[in-house]
Amino acid sequence: MDFSFTKKEEKFRTELRTWLETNLPEGWLEGKRDLPEDLDEYSAYLRAWQRTLYDGGWAAIAWPKEYGGRDASLMEEIIYHQEMVRVKAPPLINYIGIHMVGPTLIDMGTEEQKEKYLKKILTGEEIWCQGYSEPSAGSDLTALKTRAVKDGDRWLINGQKVWTSFGHVADKCFLLTRTSTVPEKKHRGITVFLIDMDQPGVETLPIIQMDGHKDFNEVYLTDAVATDADIVGQVDSGWHVLIALMLHERTGIGAELFTLEKQFNDTVTLAQQYKVNGQPLIHNPLIRQKMAGFYARVRGSLLNYYRNLTTTVKNGQPGPESSIDKLVVSELNKELSSFAVEIQGHQGLLWDKDAAVDSKWQRLFLASFGQTIGGGTSEVQRNTIGERVLGLPKDMGR
């Protein structure tokens, strides 16, 4: 057992940290971290940030060098996430391009596709979104109904996608469509297309969330056009592409865990500094007890992640146990952010500029409801763990 980083890893960390200190937007490290409210300005700001990352060679460290990456090891990726969380770096606007679409194309794209897309993913010139969920295909993606039908030498695509993140800023979409309704098993007959968002057949509408944000979109497809050259893998074999893509998203959960850890540490600070009747909250025995409980769970989740990571490093691929991490981090996040609001007493009800300390806690609380739903609900996660890790029988309809 060894919790230290190698010299090479420490050097990597130092290099990144130094680079960030120089290249983060003006005033960022000091706390000036407001992003533009206007959508176009927001998009321009984050595209510029990605361009900066690209110029520094930090846009896609896990990609092979030949495609503009650094061939980073898994541990270097972890360090990368740790450092980004540490400085609360601006979000990566092309997250989907860098972490999902790019690696998938490198893996199973045609030479033409690689040529056409990879560079622009790196630079932020083309932002990607994913067209997965549909109104009646949420937890059950195999129920998707968006049809792609061959019409001469092009494909016409009709249907509706929902919960498409970055849809409002994206130039391109990694789109799941149904190309066959015949087969018995519903997960056959799905094809992945790479389509242009900027075409007459594609309309995007923002979804207003319960926390007021508009991170997701509905995407309406009406005779949207693609060609054979836009297919990833084979016609009707989109499910395999999807699975490959999910495997490429190998460290996102690490970033979430480091964020959770940071939020927990911030909660400790909150409890130490927030006073009620002149007494810091942390003096309250009930609060102390709960904080100790959270400490055990946050540390336990992180350590468990490191244990799964060790397995991944040793075996070259993650074990089924790593599916535990997403369930744990999203549920814990929900409880922790609720707790952080609750301990503020009645003042926890104040919002925005009137908030007692910082309304980030109230915002986190609201946002946390999305985390146990998005990317597979906790219920679906439990099914997956039950079936893949424990070998329990499959659920109804699966």
């Binding site: 937890s139 207003i208 009747n277 609750e342 009137d354 906790s378």
Partner: protein
């Protein structure tokens, strides 16, 4: 033994539900988010027309002289549609206090106007970075040259802009145990009211700053320095009412969850067939029914001299707050993505549940009251 509401009470519930449905249910709350209080005002004048505002006011002040239990259908229905406003503060906090401790003059002034629906009273108790307790009240009322002068800050005062008057808890002595008094302020113009942004946007709250505000002795209710004890009487009625409000809200949450689980399909099944979904709604339902039983009893016992009067009311409140926020949160999860949108009502219930969770005292605060009142 008969542990149920009467047919009359249930019929009355029907009337109020019908009325609120006409207003579009949560539409009233949503209009408050858009800062349009017109519907809310109309709801309140309609409630007054139906006689609700006089239910627990003596006949001599033009009320119906009924009991707390007769207010239950009203509070449940208001909760069901998350109607904001001052009905609970007015009728379930201020009215019981004035009835018990007010002078004849105060009764005449306030009770008659409240019964007629002409006066809504808000409650200014909470202060920044203090809790709701004797020590937490630092806003001071001092006698100086024969005048009473008020200084200090109250926050999270509900619907201050709709209020015709305010009940304040203020400090009149340094004595921690016995140093608080209750004051009624009509002269709304002299108060410095400033809207605060609320986590529950459908529930407006404000900060009130009093700077050398002069009030008269007639504005003090009951005995000086005995305000905290007197307030407890009001808190009993208020928390019984609040339990009913939350039971009404929870009922709608359970209804939403169950109905959605019947029609939403995933994996070729209505999701209500999956035990994770089904059992979760069942637990919500079980908690709802127990909360309802506790709240009925609380509203019955509050008008009696039974030994468990305090324990019953505060048990109802703590149980209902705990289970309401749990159910409202779970309701979002059961709805999946759509439950996370602004469009559906799910989030309105979570925000209101959060609003009331620590309103006028946390769960441990009330649990300690339960234990103490039972002499343990």
């Amino acid at each position: 033994m008969d542990f149920s509401l009467t047919e009359d009470q249930e019929m009355f519930r029907g009337q109020i539900r019908k009325m609120l449905d006409k207003f579009g249910g949560t539409q009233v709350a949503r209009e408050m988010i858009a800062d349009k209080p017109e519907s809310l005002k109309k709801v309140y004048s309609t409630l007054a027309e139906l006689g609700c505002s006089g239910i627990n006011i003596p006949e001599e002040y033009d009320g119906l002289d009924l009991e707390a239990l007769d207010l239950v259908p009203t509070f449940e229905e208001l909760g069901r549609s998350l109607v904001p406003g001052l009905f609970m503060e007015t009728n379930a906090l201020v009215v019981p206090i004035i009835k018990k401790y007010g002078t004849d003059e105060q009764k005449k002034n306030y009770l008659t106007a409240i019964a007629a629906g002409d006066k809504q009273v808000s409650f200014a108790a909470l202060e920044p970075f203090n809790d709701f307790s004797r020590q937490g009240i630092q806003c001071s009322l001092a006698k100086k040259d024969g005048q009473y002068v008020l200084n200090g800050t109250k926050i999270l005062v509900p619907e201050a802009e709709l209020a015709d008057a305010f009940l304040l808890v203020v400090r009149t002595s340094e004595d921690v145990e016995d140093g608080l008094s209750l004051v009624l302020i009509d002269a709304v113009d002299e108060l410095n009211i400033e809207r605060q942004l609320s986590f529950d946007e459908a529930k407006h709250v404000a900060k009130i700053e009093c700077n050398q505000l002069v009030i008269t002795e007639e504005q003090i209710i009951g005995e000086v320095n005995k305000g905290w004890e007197q307030l407890q009487e009001g808190l009993l009625y208020f928390n019984a009412a609040l339990s009913s409000y939350m039971v009404g809200a929870m009922e709608h949450v359970v209804h939403m969850a169950a109905e959605y689980a019947k029609i939403r399909e995933q994996f070729g099944q209505p999701i209500g067939r999956f035990q994770a979904v089904k059992h979760s709604i069942v637990d919500m339902k079980v908690h709802l029914e127990i909360a309802r039983s506790l709240s009925y009893y609380a509203n019955w016992v509050v008008d009696t001299e039974e030994n468990d009067r305090e324990a019953a009311v505060y048990s109802a409140r703590t149980y209902a707050t705990e289970k309401f926020i749990e159910a409202a949160s779970q309701n979002i999860q059961l709805h999946g993505g759509i439950g996370f949108t602004e469009e559906l009502d799910c989030h309105l219930y979570v925000k209101r549940a959060r609003y009331y969770d620590q309103y006028l005292g946390s769960t441990p605060f009330y649990q300690e009251k339960v234990v103490a009142s039972l002499g343990w």
